[in-house]
Symmetry: C2
Subunit: 115 residues, 2 copies
């Protein structure tokens, strides 16, 4: 039960849903997600921790950067199912499509050194 609730709570915030939709396109570092959402960096880190605890995302260190990608579903069947659903959901949502449109142009080298 707690595991299920953790996944549902993680999916109950629009900014976290936006993060998942972004990561559905490609792996991203924290500063790239920050640029896409327009939030403060600590806020993004906390959202990512909540998503990670729910098994919805995984992180991979690459030097100074931390790359986040969608979870593989091993840690939670609920997360795996919902990630599958989310691939088809919300693509027509104006907020989502606006953010997804700028994902290809997110460049960590252009973003991070200007924080």
């Amino acid at each position: 039960m707690k595991e299920f609730i953790r996944v549902m709570k993680a999916l109950s915030d629009p900014n976290r849903v936006k993060i998942l939709k972004m990561l559905n396109r490609r792996e991203l570092c924290v500063c790239e997600i920050q640029a896409g959402l327009g939030l403060a960096q600590p806020t993004v880190s906390k959202h990512l921790k909540i998503l990670e605890d729910a098994g919805l995302v995984q992180k991979r260190k690459e030097g100074l950067w931390v790359n986040y990608r969608l979870g593989d579903g091993d840690s939670s069947p609920y997360a795996a199912t919902l990630l599958g659903n989310l691939k088809h959901w919300l693509n027509d949502d104006p907020e989502i499509s606006a953010i997804l449109a700028q994902v290809p142009d997110l460049n960590r080298d252009a973003i991070c050194s200007r924080q």
Copy 2:
């Protein structure tokens, strides 16, 4: 997006999940749900309203009673999908199975007049 968030928030509370699992067995009135959960009656009414606003349950008046059943999925595709998933999920959870075991014995006539 708001519709999706509404469904996820509705599913983010253990008592509301328990209500859905109970209604998966059969239609129930408020006092029967109250007896199953052990909560105050107004609390149950508020949970039911949140579930109804998300499209997860529907109500049907029958005289003095209000019978709640699972939503038919017409109001929200997200609710419809999650209700389908929930049918298979959490059946082995101790909290859930304990409540489901007593659903067949819930009797509105025996419960409600003793409030």
